[in-house]
Amino acid sequence: MTVTLQQSSASSVLKARRAHNEKLARKADQTRATWFPLALLAILVALPLLQFVGNYNYVLHLVLFTASYVAMASGWNILGGFAGYVSLGHSVFFGVGGYFAGMLLARYGISTIITAPLAGLVAAVLGYLIGLITLKVRGPSFIISSIALLMIARILFDNWEFVGGANGLTLPTNDLPVQWAKLPYYYAMIAIAAFTVWATYRIKHSKFGLGLRAISKDEIKAESAGIDTRFYKVMAFAFSAFFVGMTGAVWGEYLTYLRPNIFLLILVSANLVLMSILGGKGTIAGPVVGAILIVALNEFFVATMGASEINILGTGLVMAVGLIFFPLGLIGTLAKKGKLPRVLNWD
Protein backbone atom coordinates (compact mmCIF):
# COMPACT_ATOMS: atom_id res chain seq x y z
CA MET A 1 0.00 0.00 0.00
CA THR A 2 1.36 3.41 -0.93
CA VAL A 3 1.07 6.40 1.32
CA THR A 4 0.54 9.81 -0.26
CA LEU A 5 1.98 12.66 1.71
CA GLN A 6 0.20 15.98 2.04
CA GLN A 7 2.20 18.52 0.07
CA SER A 8 1.25 21.63 2.06
CA SER A 9 3.82 22.89 4.53
CA ALA A 10 3.42 22.61 8.28
CA SER A 11 2.67 26.29 8.83
CA SER A 12 -0.30 26.35 6.49
CA VAL A 13 -1.72 23.27 8.20
CA LEU A 14 -1.42 25.01 11.54
CA LYS A 15 -3.06 28.14 10.15
CA ALA A 16 -5.97 26.19 8.75
CA ARG A 17 -6.41 24.35 12.01
CA ARG A 18 -6.41 27.58 13.99
CA ALA A 19 -9.02 29.09 11.71
CA HIS A 20 -11.15 25.99 12.07
CA ASN A 21 -10.87 26.07 15.86
CA GLU A 22 -11.87 29.71 15.94
CA LYS A 23 -14.90 28.95 13.81
CA LEU A 24 -15.91 26.19 16.21
CA ALA A 25 -15.44 28.45 19.21
CA ARG A 26 -17.55 31.20 17.61
CA LYS A 27 -20.29 28.70 16.85
CA ALA A 28 -20.23 27.42 20.45
CA ASP A 29 -20.43 31.00 21.70
CA GLN A 30 -23.49 31.68 19.59
CA THR A 31 -25.40 28.67 20.88
CA ARG A 32 -24.38 29.19 24.51
CA ALA A 33 -27.13 30.61 26.70
CA THR A 34 -24.87 33.01 28.61
CA TRP A 35 -27.90 35.01 29.63
CA PHE A 36 -29.17 32.21 31.89
CA PRO A 37 -26.46 32.18 34.58
CA LEU A 38 -26.37 35.97 34.43
CA ALA A 39 -30.14 36.21 34.92
CA LEU A 40 -29.88 33.73 37.80
CA LEU A 41 -27.21 35.88 39.38
CA ALA A 42 -29.33 39.03 38.92
CA ILE A 43 -32.30 37.38 40.62
CA LEU A 44 -30.13 36.31 43.55
CA VAL A 45 -28.67 39.81 43.88
CA ALA A 46 -32.16 41.31 43.93
CA LEU A 47 -33.58 38.68 46.30
CA PRO A 48 -32.86 40.57 49.57
CA LEU A 49 -35.43 43.18 48.43
CA LEU A 50 -37.93 40.69 49.86
CA GLN A 51 -36.82 41.87 53.30
CA PHE A 52 -38.75 45.11 52.70
CA VAL A 53 -42.07 43.27 52.55
CA GLY A 54 -41.53 40.69 55.28
CA ASN A 55 -39.07 38.44 57.06
CA TYR A 56 -37.44 36.10 54.59
CA ASN A 57 -34.30 35.35 56.62
CA TYR A 58 -34.81 31.62 56.11
CA VAL A 59 -34.86 32.02 52.32
CA LEU A 60 -31.69 34.11 52.45
CA HIS A 61 -30.05 31.53 54.70
CA LEU A 62 -30.91 28.73 52.29
CA VAL A 63 -29.52 30.64 49.30
CA LEU A 64 -26.37 31.52 51.24
CA PHE A 65 -25.94 27.92 52.35
CA THR A 66 -26.42 26.67 48.80
CA ALA A 67 -24.01 29.27 47.45
CA SER A 68 -21.35 28.15 49.91
CA TYR A 69 -21.69 24.59 48.65
CA VAL A 70 -21.74 25.75 45.02
CA ALA A 71 -18.40 27.47 45.59
CA MET A 72 -16.87 24.51 47.43
CA ALA A 73 -18.15 21.82 45.07
CA SER A 74 -16.98 23.83 42.05
CA GLY A 75 -13.59 24.26 43.70
CA TRP A 76 -13.44 20.54 44.44
CA ASN A 77 -14.30 19.91 40.80
CA ILE A 78 -10.97 21.40 39.68
CA LEU A 79 -9.05 18.58 41.33
CA GLY A 80 -11.70 15.85 41.43
CA GLY A 81 -13.47 16.54 38.16
CA PHE A 82 -10.85 17.93 35.81
CA ALA A 83 -7.74 16.13 37.08
CA GLY A 84 -9.61 13.03 38.30
CA TYR A 85 -8.13 12.97 41.80
CA VAL A 86 -11.02 12.34 44.22
CA SER A 87 -10.30 13.96 47.58
CA LEU A 88 -12.34 13.15 50.67
CA GLY A 89 -10.37 15.60 52.82
CA HIS A 90 -11.33 18.96 51.41
CA SER A 91 -13.06 20.02 54.62
CA VAL A 92 -9.51 20.59 55.89
CA PHE A 93 -9.28 23.67 53.69
CA PHE A 94 -12.77 24.72 54.71
CA GLY A 95 -11.52 24.60 58.31
CA VAL A 96 -8.17 26.26 57.62
CA GLY A 97 -9.84 29.14 55.76
CA GLY A 98 -12.44 29.54 58.47
CA TYR A 99 -9.93 29.47 61.31
CA PHE A 100 -7.40 31.78 59.65
CA ALA A 101 -9.91 34.51 58.83
CA GLY A 102 -11.79 33.91 62.08
CA MET A 103 -8.62 34.42 64.15
CA LEU A 104 -7.92 37.67 62.31
CA LEU A 105 -11.47 38.77 63.11
CA ALA A 106 -11.20 37.77 66.76
CA ARG A 107 -7.79 39.40 67.29
CA TYR A 108 -7.83 42.46 65.06
CA GLY A 109 -11.50 42.91 64.23
CA ILE A 110 -11.02 42.71 60.45
CA SER A 111 -14.11 41.28 58.78
CA THR A 112 -13.62 37.92 57.10
CA ILE A 113 -15.24 39.31 53.96
CA ILE A 114 -12.09 41.40 53.48
CA THR A 115 -9.66 38.70 54.54
CA ALA A 116 -11.37 35.88 52.62
CA PRO A 117 -8.96 36.00 49.63
CA LEU A 118 -6.06 35.89 52.06
CA ALA A 119 -7.59 32.90 53.82
CA GLY A 120 -8.01 31.26 50.43
CA LEU A 121 -4.35 31.90 49.72
CA VAL A 122 -3.30 30.28 53.00
CA ALA A 123 -5.45 27.26 52.16
CA ALA A 124 -3.92 27.17 48.68
CA VAL A 125 -0.34 27.21 50.00
CA LEU A 126 -1.25 24.42 52.40
CA GLY A 127 -2.91 22.53 49.55
CA TYR A 128 0.22 22.96 47.44
CA LEU A 129 2.47 21.55 50.17
CA ILE A 130 0.14 18.64 50.93
CA GLY A 131 -0.26 17.97 47.24
CA LEU A 132 3.49 17.61 46.86
CA ILE A 133 3.28 14.61 49.20
CA THR A 134 -0.07 12.98 48.52
CA LEU A 135 -0.28 13.44 44.75
CA LYS A 136 2.58 10.99 44.37
CA VAL A 137 0.01 8.22 44.56
CA ARG A 138 -3.19 7.99 42.61
CA GLY A 139 -6.54 6.20 42.74
CA PRO A 140 -7.46 4.51 46.01
CA SER A 141 -4.24 5.42 47.82
CA PHE A 142 -4.84 9.11 47.18
CA ILE A 143 -8.38 8.90 48.54
CA ILE A 144 -7.09 7.16 51.66
CA SER A 145 -4.38 9.77 52.18
CA SER A 146 -6.99 12.53 51.94
CA ILE A 147 -9.05 10.90 54.69
CA ALA A 148 -5.93 10.58 56.85
CA LEU A 149 -5.22 14.26 56.26
CA LEU A 150 -8.65 15.14 57.61
CA MET A 151 -8.10 12.96 60.68
CA ILE A 152 -4.73 14.63 61.38
CA ALA A 153 -6.25 18.10 61.03
CA ARG A 154 -9.09 17.16 63.37
CA ILE A 155 -6.72 15.95 66.10
CA LEU A 156 -4.49 19.02 65.70
CA PHE A 157 -7.37 21.50 65.93
CA ASP A 158 -9.02 19.60 68.78
CA ASN A 159 -5.84 19.98 70.81
CA TRP A 160 -4.62 23.42 69.72
CA GLU A 161 -5.50 25.65 72.67
CA PHE A 162 -4.55 28.86 70.82
CA VAL A 163 -7.61 28.48 68.58
CA GLY A 164 -9.86 27.22 71.37
CA GLY A 165 -9.31 23.47 71.13
CA ALA A 166 -12.35 21.23 70.87
CA ASN A 167 -14.64 23.90 72.34
CA GLY A 168 -13.80 26.29 69.55
CA LEU A 169 -13.96 30.02 69.49
CA THR A 170 -16.81 32.53 69.54
CA LEU A 171 -16.57 35.35 67.03
CA PRO A 172 -18.03 38.85 67.48
CA THR A 173 -21.37 39.40 65.77
CA ASN A 174 -22.10 42.46 63.64
CA ASP A 175 -24.49 45.10 65.02
CA LEU A 176 -26.86 45.35 62.08
CA PRO A 177 -30.60 44.93 62.80
CA VAL A 178 -31.78 41.33 62.46
CA GLN A 179 -33.53 42.16 59.21
CA TRP A 180 -30.24 43.04 57.49
CA ALA A 181 -27.68 41.12 59.56
CA LYS A 182 -27.31 38.36 56.99
CA LEU A 183 -26.84 40.64 54.00
CA PRO A 184 -23.04 41.20 54.02
CA TYR A 185 -22.42 37.45 54.18
CA TYR A 186 -25.16 36.81 51.65
CA TYR A 187 -23.56 39.05 49.05
CA ALA A 188 -20.06 37.88 49.90
CA MET A 189 -21.04 34.24 49.46
CA ILE A 190 -22.92 34.91 46.20
CA ALA A 191 -19.86 36.75 44.92
CA ILE A 192 -17.53 33.92 45.92
CA ALA A 193 -19.80 31.33 44.31
CA ALA A 194 -20.12 33.31 41.08
CA PHE A 195 -16.38 33.96 40.98
CA THR A 196 -15.64 30.26 41.54
CA VAL A 197 -17.97 29.11 38.79
CA TRP A 198 -16.49 31.69 36.41
CA ALA A 199 -12.97 30.66 37.41
CA THR A 200 -13.65 26.96 36.84
CA TYR A 201 -14.97 27.87 33.40
CA ARG A 202 -11.80 29.81 32.62
CA ILE A 203 -9.60 27.01 33.97
CA LYS A 204 -11.40 24.35 31.99
CA HIS A 205 -10.85 26.25 28.75
CA SER A 206 -7.24 27.16 29.39
CA LYS A 207 -4.15 25.16 28.46
CA PHE A 208 -3.87 24.31 32.15
CA GLY A 209 -7.38 22.82 32.17
CA LEU A 210 -6.66 20.86 29.01
CA GLY A 211 -3.59 19.42 30.71
CA LEU A 212 -5.64 18.43 33.75
CA ARG A 213 -8.20 16.68 31.60
CA ALA A 214 -5.40 14.83 29.81
CA ILE A 215 -4.10 13.71 33.22
CA SER A 216 -7.51 12.38 34.22
CA LYS A 217 -7.74 10.40 30.97
CA ASP A 218 -4.27 8.84 31.07
CA GLU A 219 -1.51 10.24 33.21
CA ILE A 220 1.37 8.37 31.57
CA LYS A 221 0.37 9.44 28.08
CA ALA A 222 -0.12 13.01 29.31
CA GLU A 223 3.37 12.99 30.72
CA SER A 224 4.89 11.65 27.52
CA ALA A 225 3.03 14.35 25.60
CA GLY A 226 5.17 16.85 27.48
CA ILE A 227 2.80 17.92 30.25
CA ASP A 228 4.51 18.58 33.57
CA THR A 229 1.94 16.38 35.30
CA ARG A 230 3.33 16.81 38.81
CA PHE A 231 3.21 20.61 38.64
CA TYR A 232 -0.25 20.57 37.02
CA LYS A 233 -1.69 18.24 39.65
CA VAL A 234 -0.24 20.17 42.57
CA MET A 235 -1.48 23.46 41.12
CA ALA A 236 -4.94 21.94 40.67
CA PHE A 237 -4.86 20.95 44.34
CA ALA A 238 -3.85 24.49 45.32
CA PHE A 239 -6.55 26.13 43.19
CA SER A 240 -9.30 23.90 44.53
CA ALA A 241 -8.10 24.52 48.11
CA PHE A 242 -8.18 28.28 47.44
CA PHE A 243 -11.91 28.39 46.70
CA VAL A 244 -12.83 26.08 49.56
CA GLY A 245 -10.71 28.15 51.95
CA MET A 246 -12.38 31.40 50.88
CA THR A 247 -15.80 29.89 51.48
CA GLY A 248 -14.74 28.70 54.92
CA ALA A 249 -13.61 32.19 55.89
CA VAL A 250 -16.99 33.82 55.27
CA TRP A 251 -18.88 30.83 56.63
CA GLY A 252 -17.07 31.14 59.97
CA GLU A 253 -18.11 34.73 60.56
CA TYR A 254 -21.64 33.98 59.39
CA LEU A 255 -21.95 31.15 61.94
CA THR A 256 -20.26 33.41 64.59
CA TYR A 257 -18.22 30.52 65.95
CA LEU A 258 -15.43 28.20 64.94
CA ARG A 259 -15.42 24.63 66.13
CA PRO A 260 -13.54 21.59 64.82
CA ASN A 261 -16.67 19.43 64.84
CA ILE A 262 -18.38 21.84 62.44
CA PHE A 263 -15.59 22.57 60.01
CA LEU A 264 -13.52 19.39 60.04
CA LEU A 265 -16.30 16.95 59.31
CA ILE A 266 -16.01 14.16 56.79
CA LEU A 267 -19.68 14.76 55.99
CA VAL A 268 -18.76 18.14 54.49
CA SER A 269 -16.16 16.49 52.24
CA ALA A 270 -18.62 13.77 51.35
CA ASN A 271 -21.16 16.38 50.35
CA LEU A 272 -18.70 18.04 47.98
CA VAL A 273 -17.98 14.71 46.28
CA LEU A 274 -21.64 13.81 46.19
CA MET A 275 -22.69 17.15 44.68
CA SER A 276 -20.04 17.06 41.98
CA ILE A 277 -20.73 13.46 41.03
CA LEU A 278 -24.50 13.74 41.14
CA GLY A 279 -24.44 16.91 39.05
CA GLY A 280 -21.70 15.76 36.72
CA LYS A 281 -18.01 15.58 37.48
CA GLY A 282 -15.83 17.71 35.23
CA THR A 283 -18.67 19.89 33.96
CA ILE A 284 -19.16 23.53 34.98
CA ALA A 285 -22.87 23.37 35.72
CA GLY A 286 -22.66 19.95 37.41
CA PRO A 287 -21.52 21.02 40.89
CA VAL A 288 -24.01 23.91 40.84
CA VAL A 289 -26.95 21.67 39.99
CA GLY A 290 -25.68 19.02 42.43
CA ALA A 291 -25.37 21.54 45.27
CA ILE A 292 -28.90 22.82 44.75
CA LEU A 293 -30.28 19.26 44.62
CA ILE A 294 -28.44 18.03 47.71
CA VAL A 295 -29.25 21.08 49.84
CA ALA A 296 -32.91 20.76 48.86
CA LEU A 297 -32.83 17.05 49.67
CA ASN A 298 -31.13 17.68 53.03
CA GLU A 299 -33.71 20.29 53.97
CA PHE A 300 -36.43 17.86 53.01
CA PHE A 301 -34.99 15.03 55.13
CA VAL A 302 -34.42 17.32 58.11
CA ALA A 303 -37.85 18.95 57.84
CA THR A 304 -39.78 15.69 57.49
CA MET A 305 -37.76 13.37 59.72
CA GLY A 306 -35.49 15.56 61.76
CA ALA A 307 -32.98 12.97 62.91
CA SER A 308 -29.43 13.40 61.68
CA GLU A 309 -29.01 9.62 61.29
CA ILE A 310 -31.69 9.65 58.62
CA ASN A 311 -29.77 12.44 56.95
CA ILE A 312 -26.56 10.39 56.83
CA LEU A 313 -28.46 7.34 55.59
CA GLY A 314 -30.19 9.46 52.92
CA THR A 315 -26.92 11.00 51.75
CA GLY A 316 -25.31 7.58 51.46
CA LEU A 317 -28.30 6.12 49.66
CA VAL A 318 -28.50 8.96 47.12
CA MET A 319 -24.75 8.64 46.54
CA ALA A 320 -24.91 4.87 45.93
CA VAL A 321 -27.94 5.05 43.64
CA GLY A 322 -26.46 7.98 41.72
CA LEU A 323 -23.13 6.19 41.28
CA ILE A 324 -24.64 2.91 40.13
CA PHE A 325 -27.21 4.29 37.72
CA PHE A 326 -25.80 7.66 36.63
CA PRO A 327 -22.00 7.49 36.94
CA LEU A 328 -21.70 10.53 34.67
CA GLY A 329 -24.05 12.63 36.79
CA LEU A 330 -27.10 14.56 35.71
CA ILE A 331 -25.37 16.97 33.33
CA GLY A 332 -22.99 14.32 31.99
CA THR A 333 -25.76 11.80 31.30
CA LEU A 334 -27.97 14.38 29.59
CA ALA A 335 -25.06 15.68 27.51
CA LYS A 336 -24.14 12.16 26.41
CA LYS A 337 -27.69 11.58 25.21
CA GLY A 338 -27.69 14.96 23.48
CA LYS A 339 -30.63 16.08 25.59
CA LEU A 340 -28.92 18.72 27.71
CA PRO A 341 -31.05 21.87 27.69
CA ARG A 342 -29.19 24.86 26.30
CA VAL A 343 -29.55 26.86 29.53
CA LEU A 344 -27.58 24.23 31.46
CA ASN A 345 -24.71 23.92 29.00
CA TRP A 346 -22.15 26.13 30.71
CA ASP A 347 -19.08 24.36 29.40
Binding site: G84, V86, L88, I133, T134, K136, V137, R138, G139, P140, S141, I143, I144, S145, I147, A148, L149, L150, M151, I152, I155, D158, N159, E219, I220, I266, A270, V273, I277, A307, S308, E309, I310, N311, I312, L313, G314, T315, G316, L317, M319, A320, L323, I324, P327
Partner: protein, 292 residues
Protein backbone atom coordinates in the same frame (compact mmCIF):
# COMPACT_ATOMS: atom_id res chain seq x y z
CA UNK B 1 12.46 -1.94 82.11
CA UNK B 2 9.24 -3.40 83.42
CA UNK B 3 7.58 -0.27 82.03
CA UNK B 4 8.84 -0.93 78.55
CA UNK B 5 7.86 -4.60 78.71
CA UNK B 6 4.41 -3.59 79.92
CA UNK B 7 3.85 -1.14 77.05
CA UNK B 8 5.19 -3.69 74.57
CA UNK B 9 2.73 -6.35 75.74
CA UNK B 10 -0.25 -4.01 75.65
CA UNK B 11 0.76 -2.82 72.19
CA UNK B 12 1.17 -6.35 70.83
CA UNK B 13 -2.19 -7.52 72.20
CA UNK B 14 -4.01 -4.58 70.60
CA UNK B 15 -1.94 -5.03 67.46
CA UNK B 16 -3.31 -8.55 67.07
CA UNK B 17 -6.88 -7.24 67.09
CA UNK B 18 -6.01 -4.46 64.66
CA UNK B 19 -4.37 -7.03 62.39
CA UNK B 20 -7.62 -9.00 62.27
CA UNK B 21 -9.58 -5.81 61.59
CA UNK B 22 -7.23 -5.03 58.69
CA UNK B 23 -6.85 -8.52 57.23
CA UNK B 24 -10.35 -8.58 55.72
CA UNK B 25 -9.67 -5.21 54.15
CA UNK B 26 -6.43 -6.50 52.70
CA UNK B 27 -7.99 -9.69 51.32
CA UNK B 28 -10.82 -7.81 49.61
CA UNK B 29 -8.36 -5.38 48.07
CA UNK B 30 -6.01 -8.15 46.98
CA UNK B 31 -8.63 -10.18 45.15
CA UNK B 32 -11.00 -7.52 43.88
CA UNK B 33 -9.02 -4.27 44.00
CA UNK B 34 -11.84 -2.82 46.09
CA UNK B 35 -10.72 -0.41 48.81
CA UNK B 36 -13.54 -1.14 51.19
CA UNK B 37 -14.08 2.06 53.14
CA UNK B 38 -17.18 0.43 54.67
CA UNK B 39 -15.08 -2.25 56.38
CA UNK B 40 -14.91 -0.54 59.80
CA UNK B 41 -18.61 0.29 59.77
CA UNK B 42 -19.29 -3.41 59.16
CA UNK B 43 -16.94 -4.26 62.04
CA UNK B 44 -19.13 -2.02 64.18
CA UNK B 45 -22.20 -3.86 62.92
CA UNK B 46 -20.54 -7.10 64.06
CA UNK B 47 -19.75 -5.51 67.41
CA UNK B 48 -23.42 -4.61 67.89
CA UNK B 49 -24.42 -8.21 67.19
CA UNK B 50 -22.05 -9.38 69.94
CA UNK B 51 -23.15 -6.57 72.25
CA UNK B 52 -26.86 -7.34 72.05
CA UNK B 53 -26.30 -11.10 72.22
CA UNK B 54 -24.38 -10.56 75.45
CA UNK B 55 -26.78 -8.01 76.88
CA UNK B 56 -30.07 -9.76 76.04
CA UNK B 57 -29.15 -13.45 75.92
CA UNK B 58 -25.98 -13.42 77.99
CA UNK B 59 -23.94 -15.15 75.26
CA UNK B 60 -20.19 -14.63 75.53
CA UNK B 61 -18.76 -12.48 72.68
CA UNK B 62 -16.12 -15.12 71.91
CA UNK B 63 -18.87 -17.71 71.48
CA UNK B 64 -20.75 -15.23 69.30
CA UNK B 65 -17.72 -14.81 67.04
CA UNK B 66 -18.63 -17.48 64.44
CA UNK B 67 -22.25 -16.33 64.45
CA UNK B 68 -21.52 -12.68 63.75
CA UNK B 69 -18.90 -13.75 61.19
CA UNK B 70 -21.52 -15.86 59.40
CA UNK B 71 -24.14 -13.09 59.49
CA UNK B 72 -21.71 -10.53 58.11
CA UNK B 73 -20.48 -12.96 55.44
CA UNK B 74 -24.07 -13.33 54.25
CA UNK B 75 -24.42 -9.55 54.22
CA UNK B 76 -21.20 -9.45 52.20
CA UNK B 77 -22.60 -11.76 49.49
CA UNK B 78 -25.71 -9.61 49.30
CA UNK B 79 -23.74 -6.37 49.07
CA UNK B 80 -21.43 -7.74 46.41
CA UNK B 81 -24.28 -8.84 44.21
CA UNK B 82 -26.20 -5.59 44.68
CA UNK B 83 -23.41 -3.04 44.43
CA UNK B 84 -20.15 -4.33 43.03
CA UNK B 85 -20.85 -7.11 40.53
CA UNK B 86 -21.96 -4.71 37.80
CA UNK B 87 -19.01 -2.41 38.35
CA UNK B 88 -16.37 -4.97 37.29
CA UNK B 89 -16.76 -3.74 33.71
CA UNK B 90 -16.62 -0.04 34.58
CA UNK B 91 -13.64 1.87 33.22
CA UNK B 92 -13.12 3.80 36.45
CA UNK B 93 -13.47 0.65 38.52
CA UNK B 94 -11.19 1.41 41.45
CA UNK B 95 -12.46 4.95 41.91
CA UNK B 96 -16.10 3.92 41.54
CA UNK B 97 -15.81 1.14 44.09
CA UNK B 98 -14.11 3.42 46.63
CA UNK B 99 -16.95 5.91 46.34
CA UNK B 100 -19.55 3.13 46.51
CA UNK B 101 -18.05 1.72 49.69
CA UNK B 102 -17.91 5.25 51.08
CA UNK B 103 -21.64 5.56 50.41
CA UNK B 104 -22.13 2.15 52.02
CA UNK B 105 -20.24 3.28 55.12
CA UNK B 106 -22.56 6.26 55.44
CA UNK B 107 -25.63 4.09 55.03
CA UNK B 108 -24.37 1.63 57.65
CA UNK B 109 -23.66 4.49 60.05
CA UNK B 110 -27.13 5.94 59.46
CA UNK B 111 -28.89 2.62 60.01
CA UNK B 112 -26.87 1.72 63.13
CA UNK B 113 -27.28 5.25 64.50
CA UNK B 114 -31.03 5.18 63.90
CA UNK B 115 -31.39 1.77 65.58
CA UNK B 116 -28.97 2.00 68.49
CA UNK B 117 -28.32 5.76 69.03
CA UNK B 118 -24.88 7.28 69.41
CA UNK B 119 -24.27 6.07 72.98
CA UNK B 120 -20.83 4.59 73.60
CA UNK B 121 -21.12 0.86 74.18
CA UNK B 122 -18.79 -1.87 75.29
CA UNK B 123 -19.48 -5.53 75.99
CA UNK B 124 -18.41 -6.44 79.49
CA UNK B 125 -17.82 -10.16 80.04
CA UNK B 126 -15.89 -10.94 83.28
CA UNK B 127 -12.52 -11.28 81.59
CA UNK B 128 -12.77 -7.86 79.92
CA UNK B 129 -11.83 -6.15 83.18
CA UNK B 130 -9.62 -8.90 84.61
CA UNK B 131 -5.85 -9.32 84.24
CA UNK B 132 -2.98 -11.76 84.74
CA UNK B 133 -0.03 -10.61 86.81
CA UNK B 134 3.52 -11.73 86.08
CA UNK B 135 5.72 -9.90 88.55
CA UNK B 136 5.18 -6.18 87.96
CA UNK B 137 3.74 -6.72 84.52
CA UNK B 138 0.00 -7.14 84.07
CA UNK B 139 -1.73 -8.53 81.01
CA UNK B 140 -5.42 -7.62 80.62
CA UNK B 141 -7.27 -10.87 79.93
CA UNK B 142 -9.69 -9.34 77.42
CA UNK B 143 -6.98 -7.90 75.23
CA UNK B 144 -4.86 -11.03 75.51
CA UNK B 145 -7.71 -13.35 74.48
CA UNK B 146 -8.72 -11.04 71.64
CA UNK B 147 -5.15 -10.64 70.39
CA UNK B 148 -4.35 -14.35 70.50
CA UNK B 149 -7.66 -15.34 68.91
CA UNK B 150 -7.15 -12.76 66.17
CA UNK B 151 -3.73 -14.10 65.31
CA UNK B 152 -5.12 -17.65 65.36
CA UNK B 153 -7.88 -16.69 62.92
CA UNK B 154 -5.36 -15.03 60.63
CA UNK B 155 -3.14 -18.13 60.81
CA UNK B 156 -6.13 -20.30 59.84
CA UNK B 157 -6.88 -17.94 56.96
CA UNK B 158 -3.29 -18.10 55.76
CA UNK B 159 -3.32 -21.91 55.87
CA UNK B 160 -6.59 -21.94 53.96
CA UNK B 161 -5.20 -19.63 51.29
CA UNK B 162 -1.99 -21.60 51.05
CA UNK B 163 -3.13 -25.22 51.01
CA UNK B 164 -6.78 -25.52 49.93
CA UNK B 165 -7.95 -25.63 46.31
CA UNK B 166 -10.17 -22.60 46.83
CA UNK B 167 -7.21 -20.88 48.43
CA UNK B 168 -5.14 -21.57 45.30
CA UNK B 169 -7.92 -20.10 43.18
CA UNK B 170 -8.14 -17.00 45.37
CA UNK B 171 -4.40 -16.46 45.24
CA UNK B 172 -4.37 -17.01 41.48
CA UNK B 173 -7.10 -14.40 41.08
CA UNK B 174 -5.11 -11.99 43.25
CA UNK B 175 -2.02 -12.40 41.10
CA UNK B 176 -3.64 -12.19 37.69
CA UNK B 177 -7.34 -12.10 37.12
CA UNK B 178 -7.34 -12.82 33.39
CA UNK B 179 -4.81 -15.63 33.59
CA UNK B 180 -6.76 -17.26 36.40
CA UNK B 181 -9.91 -17.10 34.30
CA UNK B 182 -8.07 -18.65 31.34
CA UNK B 183 -7.00 -21.54 33.56
CA UNK B 184 -10.62 -22.27 34.37
CA UNK B 185 -11.09 -20.43 37.65
CA UNK B 186 -14.62 -19.12 38.05
CA UNK B 187 -13.45 -15.61 38.80
CA UNK B 188 -16.87 -14.26 39.67
CA UNK B 189 -17.50 -17.01 42.22
CA UNK B 190 -14.03 -16.52 43.69
CA UNK B 191 -14.72 -12.79 43.99
CA UNK B 192 -17.97 -13.40 45.85
CA UNK B 193 -16.24 -15.94 48.09
CA UNK B 194 -13.33 -13.65 48.89
CA UNK B 195 -15.66 -10.73 49.54
CA UNK B 196 -17.77 -12.89 51.85
CA UNK B 197 -14.64 -14.06 53.72
CA UNK B 198 -13.42 -10.47 53.97
CA UNK B 199 -16.69 -9.18 55.38
CA UNK B 200 -16.98 -12.27 57.56
CA UNK B 201 -13.59 -11.34 59.03
CA UNK B 202 -15.10 -7.93 59.79
CA UNK B 203 -17.86 -9.70 61.72
CA UNK B 204 -15.32 -11.84 63.60
CA UNK B 205 -13.25 -8.77 64.40
CA UNK B 206 -16.42 -7.01 65.50
CA UNK B 207 -17.22 -9.44 68.27
CA UNK B 208 -13.65 -9.24 69.60
CA UNK B 209 -13.58 -5.46 69.27
CA UNK B 210 -16.83 -5.20 71.23
CA UNK B 211 -15.01 -5.89 74.52
CA UNK B 212 -11.65 -4.32 73.65
CA UNK B 213 -12.73 -0.87 72.44
CA UNK B 214 -15.82 1.16 73.22
CA UNK B 215 -17.80 1.81 70.06
CA UNK B 216 -20.65 3.86 68.59
CA UNK B 217 -21.90 4.12 64.99
CA UNK B 218 -19.76 7.12 63.98
CA UNK B 219 -16.59 5.55 65.40
CA UNK B 220 -15.71 3.97 62.06
CA UNK B 221 -14.27 7.23 60.68
CA UNK B 222 -11.52 6.98 63.28
CA UNK B 223 -10.90 3.37 62.44
CA UNK B 224 -10.87 3.67 58.67
CA UNK B 225 -7.79 5.88 58.60
CA UNK B 226 -6.11 3.69 61.22
CA UNK B 227 -6.82 0.46 59.33
CA UNK B 228 -5.90 2.01 56.03
CA UNK B 229 -2.53 3.09 57.30
CA UNK B 230 -1.94 -0.46 58.54
CA UNK B 231 -2.92 -1.95 55.19
CA UNK B 232 -0.95 0.60 53.15
CA UNK B 233 2.12 0.24 55.35
CA UNK B 234 1.99 -3.53 55.02
CA UNK B 235 1.51 -3.34 51.27
CA UNK B 236 -2.02 -3.43 49.91
CA UNK B 237 -3.24 -6.99 49.44
CA UNK B 238 -0.55 -8.66 51.54
CA UNK B 239 -2.01 -10.27 54.67
CA UNK B 240 1.42 -10.96 56.17
CA UNK B 241 2.28 -7.31 55.63
CA UNK B 242 -0.94 -6.26 57.35
CA UNK B 243 -0.08 -8.32 60.43
CA UNK B 244 3.48 -7.01 60.64
CA UNK B 245 2.35 -3.41 60.11
CA UNK B 246 -0.46 -3.73 62.67
CA UNK B 247 1.85 -5.09 65.38
CA UNK B 248 4.54 -2.53 64.58
CA UNK B 249 2.28 0.52 64.52
CA UNK B 250 0.30 -0.60 67.52
CA UNK B 251 3.46 -0.94 69.61
CA UNK B 252 4.74 2.45 68.43
CA UNK B 253 1.32 3.97 69.20
CA UNK B 254 1.42 2.45 72.68
CA UNK B 255 4.80 4.06 73.36
CA UNK B 256 3.65 7.40 71.95
CA UNK B 257 0.51 7.18 74.06
CA UNK B 258 2.43 6.59 77.30
CA UNK B 259 5.33 8.94 76.75
CA UNK B 260 3.78 11.84 74.85
CA UNK B 261 0.04 11.71 75.50
CA UNK B 262 -2.99 9.55 74.77
CA UNK B 263 -4.46 11.95 72.18
CA UNK B 264 -1.34 11.60 70.04
CA UNK B 265 -1.27 7.80 69.91
CA UNK B 266 -3.84 7.63 67.07
CA UNK B 267 -1.77 10.27 65.29
CA UNK B 268 0.99 7.64 64.93
CA UNK B 269 -1.10 5.75 62.40
CA UNK B 270 -1.93 8.78 60.26
CA UNK B 271 1.61 10.12 60.23
CA UNK B 272 2.89 6.65 59.38
CA UNK B 273 0.52 6.63 56.42
CA UNK B 274 1.92 9.93 55.13
CA UNK B 275 5.49 8.83 55.67
CA UNK B 276 5.01 5.56 53.87
CA UNK B 277 3.28 7.26 50.92
CA UNK B 278 6.22 9.63 50.75
CA UNK B 279 9.02 7.07 51.01
CA UNK B 280 7.69 3.77 49.75
CA UNK B 281 4.16 4.02 48.29
CA UNK B 282 3.92 0.27 47.69
CA UNK B 283 4.33 -0.50 51.40
CA UNK B 284 6.60 -2.98 53.16
CA UNK B 285 5.48 -6.15 51.39
CA UNK B 286 3.63 -4.76 48.39
CA UNK B 287 4.39 -4.90 44.72
CA UNK B 288 5.02 -1.74 42.74
CA UNK B 289 1.76 0.21 42.50
CA UNK B 290 0.19 0.34 39.09
CA UNK B 291 -0.51 3.70 37.55
CA UNK B 292 -4.14 3.28 36.59
Amino acid sequence: MADILQILILGLALGGVIALMGSGLSLVFGVMRIVNLAHPSLIIAGAYIAYWAFKVLGIDPIVMLPVSAAILAAVGVLLYRLMFEKETKSAKYSEMTVLLTFALAMMAEGVLGGLFTNTQRVTSPDYATDAFFIGDVFIPKGQLYAGVLSLAIIAALTLFLKYSRLGYAIRATTQNREAAELLGVNVNFISILAFAIGIGLAGAAGSLVSFVFSFFPAKHWEWIAMLMSVVVLGGMGSILGTVVAALLLSVVAAFVGTWIGATWSTMTFFLALFLILLIRPQGLFGEKPEMA
